[in-house]
């Protein structure tokens, strides 16, 4: 035991020393670099998804430096590890803004991590780029949402099922937390507004990492055997998906009988699994790796070269960071400074070509315009696009299908300058997040 404490002390001492060295080194460099914070979990449950985004950011920053940096200075990435621990996200964000004085932060994955960072980033007036599809009902002065809002993913997906596949009965299945609950609330309201009867909607929630899907799949099967075309809209998160699809396959439900459309299953998630039971099921995203454009091919090649693994895949949140980072670069160039207020002002209206052939634009509500693509899963883990919107869809921060958020808009330009503005009472609620 004594030996152990001794060695522990040694480790503590050496790490303190090394961090001191690092700190002094970075302060030397501070004059001629612009710092960019990367706030993604590198350990814990979310590491699976978020590590990739950290690498994407490093790649983008590296590329920008090769092009000569920004405002004549080199960019420097400051990577921290919030370890899939939500309160730690807030602490690390504070550290990035006060200690490292980063010009902007790219980070977060789950909504709860974003909500945890919000008070800090608003208090210290930082800039956060959030790259993941989320439930909406939020628009902060300091956050730029480069992932899809519900009207850029969930609503078009339901439209596709309703119009193209003639689906009449709906199963809304999700993991039990804020994103699925809010999305399903919006979807239910939307379906009812389209004349779907309440008895034709089945809503089901399961815990994180649920693995015993027997009864739920049997229920879905019964629900779907009522003679009307049925589809499952899945907001099931992460690991729980694979046992779910496996059970569907085993109970004889194929994508032709009851298709499942997922909002959280992408190329990265498909790369580590046996895709046999998933073939033909659908996913809605704003980007697929399989989209055939020159820009996308170049991006994929760049990624594979950077990560030194020809088997790695690209996915939607990576594209979101790609767009977000480049928009930020353009805004900084436009403003001539990295000052948050100036950048927040300059970035609205900035356009940047996305990887699927359109040009995305930063909107006054801090969301961006994106195309919506629906793809069928193929046995090689890629998607075959079966439907896409013919123009880009503007992200809507406050859903028009929920009565309480219908009159609310977000507009960060004068004269409104508010993330939660009620068009009926003409008042800014002042609610921050």
């Amino acid at each position: 035991m004594k030996k152990l404490t001794h060695s522990l002390r040694k480790i503590a001492l050496s790490s303190a020393l090394s961090s001191l060295l690092l700190a002094s080194a970075s302060s030397v460099m501070a004059e001629d670099t612009i710092k960019v914070g990367v706030l993604h979990s590198l350990s814990g449950t979310m590491a699976i998804s978020e590590t990739t985004l950290k690498d994407t950011m490093l790649m983008l920053i590296d590329e920008q430096n090769k092009k000569g940096g920004l405002l004549g200075k080199k960019l420097e990435a400051v990577v921290v590890d919030p370890a899939s621990n939500w309160p730690l996200f807030a602490e690390k964000a504070r550290e990035l803004l006060t200690k490292d004085k980063v010009a902007s932060i790219f980070g977060c994955w789950t909504s709860v991590s974003r909500k945890s960072v919000l008070p800090v980033i608003e208090e210290l007036n930082g800039v956060l780029f959030y790259p993941v599809q989320y439930e909406g009902e939020e628009s902060s002065k300091n956050v730029f949402y480069t992932g899809a809002a519900p009207n850029q993913q969930a609503i078009p997906a339901v439209d596709y099922l309703m119009n193209d596949l003639k689906v009449k009965r709906w199963v809304l299945a999700g993991t039990d937390y804020v994103y699925p609950r809010t999305t399903n609330k919006i979807l239910e309201a939307y379906l009812i507004s389209k004349g779907v009867a309440k008895k034709d909607i089945m809503i089901n929630y399961t815990p994180f990492g649920h693995s015993d899907w027997q009864s739920i799949v049997a229920d879905v099967k019964k629900f779907g055997s009522a003679g009307k075309k049925t589809a499952v809209v899945s907001t099931i998160n992460g690991d729980a998906n694979i046992p779910f699809y496996k059970e569907l396959g085993n109970q004889g439900i194929s994508a032709e009988n009851i298709p499942v459309i997922a909002f959280s299953v992408g190329e990265e998630e498909l790369s580590g699994i046996d895709t046999k039971p998933l073939v033909g099921h659908l996913a809605a995203w704003n980007y697929f790796m399989s989209v055939d454009t020159t820009k996308n091919a170049a991006f994929i090649q760049q990624w594979k070269d950077y990560i030194k693994n020809p088997k790695r895949v690209t996915n939607d949140p990576m594209e979101a960071h790609y767009i977000g980072f480049n928009m930020w670069v353009k805004a900084v160039e436009k403003a001539g400074t990295t000052d948050p207020d100036a950048v927040q002002k300059a970035i609205i209206g900035v356009e940047f070509p996305n990887l699927t052939g359109g040009t995305s634009k930063m909107l006054p509500n801090h969301h961006i315009s994106k195309p919506v693509l629906i793809g069928e899963i193929q046995d090689n883990g890629q998607f075959l696009t079966v439907w896409q919107t013919n123009k880009l869809i503007d992200g809507d921060a406050w859903s028009d299908f929920l009565p309480e958020s219908k009159p609310i808009i977000a507009d960060w330009t004068a004269p409104i300058n508010c993330g939660n503005f009620n068009t009926k009472t003409k008042k800014c609620s002042g609610q921050k997040y």
């Binding site: 929630y205 693995s211 049997a218 009522a226 690991d239 004889g252």
Partner: protein, 548 residues
């Protein structure tokens, strides 16, 4: 079921067809030309053209039409990039063994990059299944014919009905005949003739068919204004009676299904807990790394499948003893290296084994990456055992249930009838006395811990078939395992079995009413209350050893 059985027999049918379709010399040149047209549409065309091509394929009458359709459906139809020819490819280690789609001529092995797969959408898969159904209606295997009838019944148009009618006349197999009859009964329900309808409803009430239930339900339903959808009152009453009769059967089958679901969930719980029942129950060690030993077993399965990529089933079976050895060796190492020094200090054991669990997780993350690994399910473990339209049992769960019972019996035999078992029981009952009798307790401790760990590894093999194989696999099961052991009574293997199964069944009966989240909470609350009342679990140990 339908899809799976088509798949299951497809290889066999393809082989059979291959024998029959060996070049039919002197084929009509004209026919060959149109056939080539169809194929060129298949390889170059848009999805719409591909759909047309598939429809024409059925009507082409070409000897290899079925073979090509089946290959397309199975994702085996490939386009050779070099000379733009359609090939049927069988996957192997190097790439694909290809043979010409039109002539069947073999042309060796090509690399994966040399070909592109002809891809499909759900719509195309649906129409493919339908035409394969039409073509397979005269297959030799009754099971293939049955699947064909079921595939055709889905969207029965006049063309398919005609085909079915002519088939019914010559069909020798009773099951297939029944299936065809059912299709016509369902058609008869909408007939204009009242007598035909009454007869159809009367016959349908003895069929276990979901389609029949739907049609009957449609007859008794009322529209928005409260008017019944079915105008004829006689028919309505008959339909109601038939529906009531079917519903009773439906309920019986659905309870059987729920019990099966419960048992299979219970089997997973028992498998996960049984190793712990030995280390925690018999030895009294709180082993937080138990879940990670299961994870090692699951990863062993993955490694075995990587080593034997073409024999998934064999790899799975071989993994059982290998996983036992791997997990047992790691277990013995943990016992000898750490736990040995901490006997009698449960808190420190808990912390130390928790550390071990983190260490094992990180090791696996470093070796295999933090991403989940893909463990394939062999053909004989996927799909389900379709007893009738109302009841089907999934094979993977069925095998795991059987496997769980086998492991349990094997373990009981080891404890009862081997020297090790005798020594384990002696040490568990009275360590000092056992020592005095000359039993090497230190060695027995190591062996017992190894046995418990080995069983955890074996459980991991089973888990690899139903859940994700990733570094976090163990964490998902550790709490459940302790719950089962404590509920069953510490130190009692039979208690673990009963506890696992009863928790599984309770969970599955609660789930439909309470939802998955609440069901889990209710079960947990129940166990807490139960432990308050009976702290020693379902089957408490009796006698002096238990008091000590």
């Amino acid at each position: 079921m339908k899809a799976n059985s088509i798949k299951r027999y497809s290889g066999w049918v393809a082989m059979l067809l291959l024998i029959f379709s060996i070049p039919t010399i002197g084929q009509d040149v004209l026919q060959a030309n149109t056939f080539n047209d169809i194929l060129s549409k298949l390889k170059l065309g848009s999805m719409q053209e591909r759909e047309q091509a598939i429809d024409q394929l059925a009507g082409s009458g070409h000897a290899r039409a079925l073979l090509i359709a089946q290959a397309l459906l199975d994702g085996k139809l490939l386009l050779l990039k070099a000379d733009d020819k359609l090939m049927i490819g069988l996957e192997n280690n190097q790439g694909y063994d290809i043979s010409d789609a039109v002539t069947g001529e073999k042309s060796g092995t090509v690399a994966r990059e040399a070909v592109t797969k002809i891809n499909l959408t759900n719509k195309l898969r649906g129409s493919l299944r339908k035409i394969i159904g039409q073509l397979e209606l005269s297959a030799d295997d009754p099971a293939v014919r049955l699947a064909a009838v079921k595939a055709m019944a889905k969207e029965a148009d006049s063309n398919t009905l005609e085909l079915l009618k002519s088939r019914a006349a010559i069909e020798p197999d009773a099951d297939v005949k029944n299936a065809i009859a059912l299709v016509f009964l369902l058609q008869d329900m909408n007939s204009a003739d009242k007598a035909v309808r009454i007869k159809a409803i009367d016959a349908l009430k003895d069929h276990n068919s979901l389609d029949a239930v739907n049609q009957l339900k449609g007859m008794v339903e009322k529209d928005a204004d409260g008017r019944p959808l079915e105008a004829d009152a006689d028919i309505r009453n008959l339909a109601e009676a038939a529906l009531a009769k079917i519903s009773t059967r439906l309920q019986i089958y659905s309870s059987i299904e729920t019990v099966f679901f419960g048992l299979s969930l219970g089997a997973v719980l028992v498998l996960a807990a049984i190793g712990l029942a030995i280390t925690f129950g018999v030895m009294g060690i709180i082993n937080m790394a138990h879940g990670e030993l299961m994870m090692l077993g699951a990863y062993t399965t993955y490694v075995m499948q990587q080593l034997l990529p073409n024999h998934l089933g064999v790899a799975l079976i071989v993994s059982i003893p290998v996983a036992f050895l791997v997990a047992a060796l790691v277990g013995v190492a943990i016992e000898r290296g750490i736990i040995r020094f901490l006997y009698g200090r449960p808190l420190e054991t808990l912390l130390a084994t928790f550390g071990v669990s983190l260490f094992l997780q990180q090791t696996v993350r470093s070796i295999f990456s933090p991403l989940n690994r893909s463990v394939a399910t062999p053909e004989w473990m996927s799909g389900s055992w379709q007893i009738n339209d109302f009841l089907s049992l999934t094979w993977n769960r069925f095998y795991i249930l059987v496997f769980c019972l086998l492991v349990f019996i094997a373990l009981l035999q080891i404890l009862k009838h081997t020297k090790l078992g005798l020594e384990v029981r002696a040490v568990a009952q009275n360590r000092n006395m056992a020592k005095a009798m000359g039993i090497p307790t230190a060695r027995v401790d190591a062996m017992t811990f190894g046995l418990g760990s080995g069983i955890a590894g074996v459980a991991g093999v089973a888990l690899s078939q139903i859940t994700n194989v990733g570094p976090n696999l163990g964490q998902a099961y550790i709490v459940d395992s302790f719950m089962v052991v404590v509920f069953g009574g510490v130190g009692n293997l039979l208690g673990t079995l009963v506890a696992g199964f009863s928790l599984g069944i309770a969970n599955k009966f609660l789930e439909p009413f309470a939802g998955a989240v609440l069901a889990k909470i209710l079960v947990l609350v129940f166990i807490i209350l139960f432990i308050q009342k009976r702290p020693r679990g379902l089957f408490p140990q009796k006698g002096r050893a238990a008091e000590a």
